[in-house]
């Protein structure tokens, strides 16, 4: 809690300092998720609580027309062992737009997005996390540097980046000295059809020698036709835990998520995931089915309701049902 108090005080000083000293092109934004979660595993209710699932406090500043900075902390109350609230640093990066002599290319340094699969532009249409996040392929942000940009003519986007590889939650001795490489490309050859692919090459993961190895690949598709917007993703991961066995474990899975916008302020969302943690092993698959509704009840206020069913092939794990109701609201100051 002392850490939270210190960081809140630090943020306030930054905000006031920004308004008094910098006084140009600075913006403060807050995003809050108030969530009710009900979880039933087998016949037992394992969770029934109201919580703050996210409290993003974001400071953005344009230092010039080509240099942009963002700092973002996340307050939350829904994890174990917290004294009231926890805090994570989620973004802290600078974008340099004209550093690289390629049109629409941006060089980014700091705690930045992980450009893999759908995780970097996941907008939480469902309350549930992005598949790469959910199945522990990678974190949504990580410390590093990279180049991202648009393919000429707006036909798509690309990114190449170098990260710690352990994600934004791991710092200090939890980070090894070997970086991970990420490449991503997406193209929209005709309006409404987007395809892409990503790769993470992390030959040394973790801090215990001999190091673990992890390579992951994702294929992404998005198809939009009128009010129907369908996202699809296939993920494959090869993982070797050198400390236990040198055998390689292969995991694979996919997600299909149709979104239907029937009325201007309503959308219905369905999602089906299948994840196989070890493709060489039988009866270990996990299936997730989600049905939900998003209601934009006011400007920048969304009420989300989701029903989620997690089923397992193995009889050792009990099927789990989750119900979420979430108020997702955002406000921001004008630039000052």
């Amino acid at each position: 809690m002392a850490k939270v108090k210190f960081l809140v005080a630090f943020m306030l000083i930054m905000v006031i300092g920004a308004s008094l000293l910098i006084a140009s092109d600075t913006q403060i934004e807050m995003t809050v998720w108030n969530r009710w979660t009900y979880v039933k595993s087998g016949d037992e209710v394992t969770e029934d609580q109201f919580s703050l699932a996210r409290g993003y406090l974001r400071l953005s500043h344009n230092f010039s027309s080509s240099v942009f900075g963002r700092f973002n902390v996340d307050f939350f109350s829904d994890e174990d062992g917290l004294d009231g609230a926890g805090l994570k640093i989620k973004y802290a990066y600078l974008d340099f737009k004209k550093l690289i002599p390629i049109q629409d290319a941006v060089f980014t340094a700091g705690l930045m997005k992980t450009y893999f699969g759908t995780i970097y532009d996941w907008s939480y249409i469902t309350v549930e996390k992005d598949p790469s996040d959910l199945y522990k392929i990678c974190s949504s942000t990580d410390y590093g540097l990279g180049v991202s940009g648009l393919i000429p003519g707006g036909l798509g986007e690309y990114a190449l980046a170098l990260y710690n590889g352990e994600g934004y939650k791991k710092t200090g001795n939890d980070v090894n000295k070997y970086p991970a490489f990420v490449g991503n490309v997406r193209v929209t050859p005709i309006p409404g059809i987007t395809v892409g692919g990503s790769a993470i090459i992390a030959n040394k993961v973790g801090t215990s020698e001999p190091y673990d190895k992890m390579n992951a690949y994702a294929g992404v598709g998005r198809f939009v036709f009128g009010p129907i917007d369908i996202w699809a993703e296939y993920i494959m991961k090869n993982y070797t835990d050198e400390t236990k066995t040198s055998c390689e474990t292969k995991s694979a899975g996919f997600m299909v998520m149709p979104i239907i916008k029937l009325f201007p302020n309503f959308e219905f969302v369905f999602r089906y995931d299948q994840w196989d943690p070890n493709t060489d092993q039988d009866n270990d698959k996990q299936n997730i089915m989600i049905a939900g509704i998003n209601w934009n009840c006011a400007s920048n206020v969304v009420l989300q309701a989701n029903y989620e069913n997690i089923s397992y092939e193995s009889s050792k794990s009990e099927d789990t049902k989750k119900v979420y109701a979430q108020l997702n609201w955002t406000f921001k100051t004008p630039k000052f």
Binding site: A23, Q103, L150, G153, P191, G226
Partner: protein, 277 residues
């Protein structure tokens, strides 16, 4: 497995239903046209809409300002049929549009010059592009540095969602940052009005907003007007767009055809903009 089949059946039912019925979003196109965007293009869109509706009593055209970025964002959200823009669509916006199944087509409806204006009491009558850049980025802050009567320069600029700002920033400032104490206003009209009432001020507006209440400066020795914009002699010039999803169809096409007609281009000229022919 049974649950998956139920879910898929439900999804297929909903999808097929959409082709069998006329849903609310499909009804919009018949007699209503919604237009949002650039405040520069706003007078053309408004006046054309008024005349068009006089000729077609069953048609309702709703026109709003908000800025080019606001208009293009609305086109991407599917909430308008036409987005007015005083700049071309950005690569980032174009990419986002295509991902959403929207194919933005820029229909040029007029040309415009961005006039640099001062208070009528200002003795300065000519300026260069490097001098404009120096004033707006804060390198020059007193009229005496331009040979004028000593006094502070009050810089009036536009907000970031303005296409006029984007084009002015690119053509005159070379992407430079406007000085931090600049007065930022939300429309051409507000800039013209503020400059007319503030001695020592300088701003920029579309040609359609010039009047006797403000003084337009020659830029590089060239006065902004129809002839100099058309010939390319006046450097701070740009086309004005009405963006549609794909080539214009139905009512949007009828409305744009009207603007492109001799009568429509007459309206463009009457409003102080540069007609296409």
């Amino acid at each position: 497995m049974k649950k998956i089949l139920v879910l898929l059946t439900l999804f297929v039912f909903i999808c097929s239903s959409m082709f069998a019925f006329t849903w609310p979003w499909a009804k919009k196109d018949t007699g209503t046209l919604t237009i949002t965007g650039s405040t520069t293009v706003l007078p053309i869109a408004q006046k054309s809409a008024e005349v068009f509706m006089d000729k077609h009593s069953d048609v309702n055209i709703s026109v709003r300002g908000g800025g080019s970025s606001v208009g293009i964002a609305a086109l991407l959200d599917g909430t308008v049929q036409i987005a007015d823009a005083s700049r071309s669509i950005k690569t980032k916006e174009f990419k986002a549009a295509r991902e959403k199944g929207i194919n933005p087509v820029g229909n040029v409806v007029a040309k415009d010059g961005i006039a640099v204006i001062v208070n009528p009491g200002n003795g300065i009558s000519e300026i260069t592009i490097p001098q404009i850049a120096a004033i707006f980025t804060g390198e020059i802050s007193n009229w005496k540095d331009l040979g004028g009567v000593p006094g502070p320069i009050v810089v009036i600029s536009r907000d970031n969602s303005s296409g006029t700002y984007e084009v002015f920033n690119e053509l005159a400032l070379g992407g430079g940052k406007v000085r931090e104490d600049a007065v930022v206003l939300a429309s051409n009209n507000a800039v013209a009005q503020t400059v007319s009432q503030t001695p020592g001020s300088i701003g920029y507006v579309g040609l359609g907003y010039l009047s006797d209440a403000v003084k337009a400066l020659k830029v590089g020795g060239v006065m902004p007007n129809n002839a100099t914009v058309n010939s390319g002699a006046y450097k701070l010039a740009r086309p004005l767009y009405m963006y549609t999803n794909g080539n214009p169809k139905g009512l949007a096409k009828q409305y744009l055809d009207f603007i492109w007609s001799a009568e429509g281009q007459g309206i463009v000229g009457d409003l102080g903009f540069v007609p296409l022919r």
